[in-house]
């Protein structure tokens, strides 16, 4: 009885496929698997390029974003003004280089808020079941019934166009969708015996939620984060365009599209370039989310575990 061999060996479902850390950090594994796909590499490349542009942009910009450098809607004049001037004579290239920060930062903040709120609600509803689950999910259904932009506009029209409010509302409008994903994953994990074992010891519910269950649902949440980030970028840009986001004279891609749309026929650059950048940024984040999603499905299929 006491001569059990001690040096361990792994007992995987598929022999010799060595993913020793498959179980302990599934999200890392998901990222690694996703990275093997071309789409993820392209997505990460695009995202990194735009983020880099937004970070170093202000340092390489030729002028100040609020400096009047030419008559309004002047055409491109290389090398003085690569993209011409906008509706009041600012340099378009400068404003493009300055205008990415807000979109990216606000979208990230909103997504993080949505994720935090959604995961908490999803864990609680998925684990508590019964009436808590029922009542919270019905309230979320009500939130879900409003299109995200309508919900945000509703509150902005009541409180006023405050940046914090926009970030918060975009986050809140993401929460029901994230909560659903988190809840579904929690329902499955909560039935496993290690959760029952913790219950039998009398471990506190919050500890069970965050120490036992949470580490097992990170992968679907990772995919959800990528997806919600894409939506956030679109929403934040749309709100800026509608005039509820950054206020003039700030440089912001969404705002630029609105300010300059009247001159689109004579000077397309101040509209076209921000649209293009927002477009490829969302394509980038979407490709990342897609890669992660595919990796997750692949891992589930290969291991038979979620």
């Amino acid at each position: 009885m006491n001569d059990e061999i001690i040096v361990s060996d792994s007992e995987l479902v598929e022999p010799a496929v060595v993913h020793a850390d498959r179980r302990r950090s599934e999200w890392l594994m998901t990222i690694r698997e996703a990275w093997r796909m071309g789409r993820t590499k392209i997505g990460v490349g695009i995202f990194a390029f735009i983020v880099l542009l937004a970070i170093v942009g202000p340092w390489i910009a030729p002028y100040s974003p609020t400096e009047f450098v030419a008559p309004p809607f002047s055409p491109a004049d290389i090398p003085k003004m690569w993209l011409g001037s906008d509706y009041i004579g600012h340099d378009v290239l400068t404003r493009v280089l300055y205008g990415g920060r807000t979109v990216i930062l606000l979208s990230l903040a909103a997504t993080v808020i949505g994720l935090g709120l959604g995961v908490t609600l999803g864990l609680i509803t998925g684990y508590a079941r019964r009436w808590i689950d029922e009542s919270v999910m019905r309230i979320l259904d009500v939130v879900l019934a409003f299109p995200q932009i309508v919900l945000t506009l509703l509150f902005v029209s009541i409180v006023g166009p405050k940046l914090w409010l926009i970030v918060l509302m975009v986050g809140i409008s993401h929460a029901p969708r994230i909560a659903r994903v988190a809840r579904a994953a929690t329902l499955e994990v909560a039935q496993r015996d290690f959760v029952h074992a913790a219950e039998a010891f009398g471990v506190a519910r919050t500890k069970i939620l965050f120490n036992e269950i949470m580490p097992s649902i990170t992968s679907p949440l990772l995919v959800e984060f990528g997806l919600r980030l894409t939506y956030s970028i679109g929403l934040i840009a749309a709100l800026s365009f509608l005039g509820f986001g950054m206020q003039p004279p700030a440089a912001d891609w969404g705002l630029m599209i609105n300010e300059n749309r009247i001159g689109i026929v004579i000077q397309p650059w101040p509209v076209f370039v921000p649209v293009l950048l927002i477009g490829i940024l969302t394509i980038g984040t979407n490709l990342i989310a897609d890669g992660l999603g595919r990796a997750l499905i692949g891992i589930e299929r290969d291991t038979g575990v979620g």
Binding site: D3, A16, P215
Partner: protein, 614 residues
């Protein structure tokens, strides 16, 4: 591989050989790591060959290769598979389709997954006949269909044939799968653990059916299983596989009487014996997986007989007698040692009841519900201090529900009294005082689900210590090392994760987690049902030892009546939510009173007592 077909016994001429496998080598595709190597088998008309091996022995991979099918990532690298002289492995896709389900057919482990859930079973059965062009007319096929159903003892009326797979029981589904396999009167049939998911009574019926059909049609059958006891009444010959190689082949009686390979002997000793004569002996360690197998003979690390040569060279096939083959350097010495290595008589004094012990847990007139349905009816029983009560029953008998009621893990309604130390127990473990939660520990069935995959063994073991005791870091460390030692694991495992451990090690960790709480009562819910027999025996030895040494009261839930004598002093037999028989183990197993117990006893497969003569 030398040709071996000529070596068959004189009574079965060579022309009777239906299936011949020679030098089969199967590897993982990109890596080239071998799953199976040098596998050679011969099966004659009307003969059942039992292919026995534990998990990771490569037995299922061999089985499906006979139909030239490999799972994703595996491929056949060398060897021949011949059915009546026809080479299966060199066939084109069209020829192969004709052979599969025709000349050779396959019964999978899980028939519920093999039957199409969207088609009526009559449609599926007819399909297999039509595809292979059985008979000349539809009428002939229908006659065959009726005959098939009769052969597997299922009704063949329209109503039954119009059912969908989910409307049948597990045993009925498996019979349909068997009917399908025999439909076109195959020459060879491959059965891949077809009874593993079934209860013993259903298993006994299915085994009878298989035996009758192979005999009456003269089919050559390969029966793959991890359980020697199952094939003991079915197989004519047995091939034992270990780490991808056939280590011993012989007739059933030869193997049971005197295995020439140490693994065969140890495997036999690890099978629970319902007669209670032999003690259960586990094999230390576990079977190595492909790519992790040691050089030389793969069994060396677990073998008592190993000498230096075993580490270096893989032994060749030797033939002690015609048809008998063994791969061991020391088979001559192993083969003559009969009695004292394998047969350890059970210490019967352990089950004798010396004094009346105090009752620790008493259950009085308890009924439990699943939602609104009553699933336990009027259960009254008790658990005494320092005794082990085995709770035996088939699936759905309510044995796990009763165990969970006591542990406070049954989330539905319970009526009646469950008392611990004379005080009523709260229904939900959360509402019990800390001292009670500490005193009653529950070990779960599956060690794959009961340990959090994201935590190290150290984190897992520290959970009960944090909840129940106020310890410093060093004290905690010391306690964890102590409990690991009690379950015969090394403290170096503390930093490992569950997926780096074998199934047996994981179950030991789960037991250690229970012990860390320093309990009075240990509830073990089918704790060995996910483990290999050799590992199961080791876990049973461990639990029996712990129970004795630590004076634990234990409730041991199991579906396997044969295990009961090796661990418990009392036994309660459950059926359909009621306890149908209760008593001391020897009394119940030797002189059962309830009809249900008698049936269970007669259906439980055991090894014939051929070893006793020595």
């Amino acid at each position: 591989m030398e040709p071996t077909t000529s070596a068959g016994p004189a009574t079965t001429p060579e022309r009777d050989v239906v299936l011949m496998v020679e030098g089969l080598r199967i590897v993982l595709d990109p890596s080239g790591v071998d799953i199976d190597d040098e596998v050679s088998l011969v099966i004659r008309r009307g003969e059942v060959l039992g292919l026995v091996g534990e998990s990771a022995s490569g037995k299922t991979t061999v089985a499906t290769s006979l139909l030239d099918y490999q799972r994703r990532g595996a491929k056949i690298a060398a060897g021949h598979v011949e059915i009546d002289g026809q080479d299966i492995l060199s066939m084109g896709p069209a020829a192969l389709r004709a052979v599969r389900g025709g000349a050779i057919s396959y019964v999978p482990q899980d028939s519920s997954a093999a039957l199409n859930p969207a088609l009526r079973i009559g449609t599926q059965l007819m399909e297999i006949l039509e595809v292979h062009g059985f008979g000349a007319s539809a009428a002939e096929r229908e006659a065959r269909l009726a005959q098939m159903m009769a052969e597997v003892l299922l009704p063949s009326d329209k109503v039954f044939l119009r059912r969908y797979p989910h409307q049948l029981s597990g045993g009925q589904q498996q019979r349909v799968a068997i009917a399908m396999a025999f439909a076109n009167r195959p020459k060879v049939i491959v059965l891949d653990e077809p009874t593993t998911a079934l209860d013993v009574t259903t298993q006994a019926h299915v085994l009878d059916t298989i035996r009758d059909l192979t005999r009456s049609y003269g089919v050559a059958a390969l029966y793959v299983t991890h359980d020697l006891a199952v094939v003991s009444n079915l197989a004519d010959r047995i091939a034992v596989m270990y780490a991808g190689r056939v280590v011993e082949t012989g007739t059933r009686d030869e193997l049971f009487a005197a295995g020439h390979h140490p693994y065969t002997r140890k495997l036999l000793a690890s099978i629970p014996d319902i007669t209670g004569e032999r003690a259960l002996r586990g094999i230390p360690g576990w079977a190595p997986r492909p790519g992790r197998r040691p050089s030389g003979c793969a069994f060396t690390p677990r073998c008592d007989w190993a000498v230096d040569r075993c580490h270096e060279e893989f032994p060749p096939v030797e033939e002690p007698s015609p048809g008998r083959r063994v791969r061991c350097w020391r088979w001559k010495e192993v083969g003559v040692q009969v009695a004292d290595l394998d047969i350890h008589l059970r210490d019967k004094s352990l089950s004798a009841r010396d004094t009346e012990e105090k009752t620790v847990i008493s259950v009085r007139d308890v009924a439990a519900f699943y939602q609104r349905k009553e699933i336990l009816h009027g259960i009254t029983t008790g658990l005494s201090e320092r005794r082990c009560l085995a709770l035996v029953g088939e699936s759905g008998s309510g044995k796990t529900t009763l165990a969970r009621c006591i542990a406070g893990l049954h989330p539905h309604k319970i009526v009646g009294d469950i008392e611990f130390g004379g005080k009523a127990l709260a229904r939900d473990a959360r509402n019990r005082p800390r001292a009670t939660r500490q005193a009653i520990q529950y070990i779960f069935q599956s060690p794959y689900s009961s340990l959090n995959p994201r935590k190290t063994i150290g984190q897992i073991l520290s959970q009960p210590l944090r909840v129940f005791f106020d310890l410093s870091r060093d004290e905690m460390e010391g306690r964890m090392e102590k409990v690991l030692e009690q379950v015969a694991l090394d403290s170096s495992l503390l930093s490992r994760y569950p997926d780096q451990l074998s199934g047996g090690e994981r179950q030991r960790v789960a037991i250690a987690r229970g012990l860390a709480a320093e309990p009075m009562v240990l509830i073990c819910d089918e704790v060995t049902s996910w483990l290999d027999v050799s590992v199961q025996a080791a876990i049973i030895e461990l639990l029996a030892g712990l129970q004795r040494e630590m004076g634990l009261s234990m409730l041991f839930v199991t579906h396997n009546l044969a295990l009961v004598r090796s661990i418990s002093q009392e036994v309660a037999v459950m059926n359909e939510g009621r306890i149908v028989e209760y008593g001391g183990v020897d009394a119940v197993l030797e002189d059962p009173q309830a009809d249900y117990t008698k049936k269970l006893l007669s259906d439980t497969p055991t090894i014939p007592a051929v070893t006793a003569e020595a």
